[in-house]
């Protein structure tokens, strides 16, 4: 399995902090989510981290077994 991680308010939108998903093209994974959540994850202020490293936000990404993709909304911390 692969894993999606939702930070900040995205956790409330998703209803969970993490979600196990079937590996494969990200476009397919997003298509299986609630459309409103998928739209939020693709929002221009949301950054992505793949396996702990910031990456470009591309729907062309393919998640492999064990991959972790985190969705990071604007921070409000400190």
């Amino acid at each position: 399995m692969a894993k999606l991680v939702f930070l900040g308010r995205l956790e409330d939108r998703a209803g969970c902090a993490e979600m196990a998903v079937t590996p494969g093209p990200l476009a397919d994974i997003l298509a299986g989510l609630d459309p409103a959540l998928a739209l939020d994850l693709l929002g221009e202020r949301v950054r992505w981290a793949l396996n702990g490293k910031l990456v470009g936000e591309s729907e062309a990404m393919v998640l492999g077994e064990g991959d972790e993709l985190a969705f990071l909304p604007p921070v409000s911390g400190g």
Partner: protein, 151 residues
């Protein structure tokens, strides 16, 4: 010199940490510290009962360490301490402490100020507050970006 950078879900004692830090740097002459704590809402009636800071482990501590390393390259410091809580905190609880020791106080002031501005605007923390109405995520403050832009 390397900075002492910590991310913890346990309460910390600012006075004890600052005493230990100051004791390490007898040659410094000057130590500047900033302590941020959860406001007790009494003064302005915002009624915050609790605050939670979430983080993303693979990014948050490495980001704090990179920020501290940048401060060490920009100012001549003898010591730098950065400690940040995550998890659920109550009014009056310490959230963050930054302390810088330097021979020249201007450098200690600038480094502490710089680290705080970037912790506020760039660090991977997400904050929510609990009031009588329940938990609510906090939006980034415009002021935080203005503060960071000073550097």
């Amino acid at each position: 010199m390397t900075a002492d950078v910590r991310l913890t879900d346990a309460a910390f004692d600012p006075a004890a940490l600052l005493a230990a830090f100051t004791g390490q740097f007898g040659g410094a002459g000057g130590v500047v510290s900033f302590l941020g704590q959860v406001r007790d809402g009494g003064s302005d009636g915002d009624g915050v009962e609790a605050l939670e800071l979430r983080h993303y482990a693979p990014l948050t501590l490495p980001g704090m360490e990179a920020l501290a390393a940048t401060a060490l390259t920009r100012w001549r410091l003898e010591g730098l301490l950065v400690i940040h809580r995550h998890g659920v905190m109550l009014p009056g609880d310490p959230i963050v402490m930054v302390a810088a020791a330097a021979r020249h106080r201007r450098e200690a002031f600038a480094a502490t100020d710089f680290v705080m501005d970037h912790l506020k605007s760039d660090s991977w923390f997400w904050k929510r507050e609990k009031t009588a109405a329940g938990w609510r995520w906090i939006e980034p403050r415009t002021q935080d970006f203005a503060d960071r832009a000073r550097w």
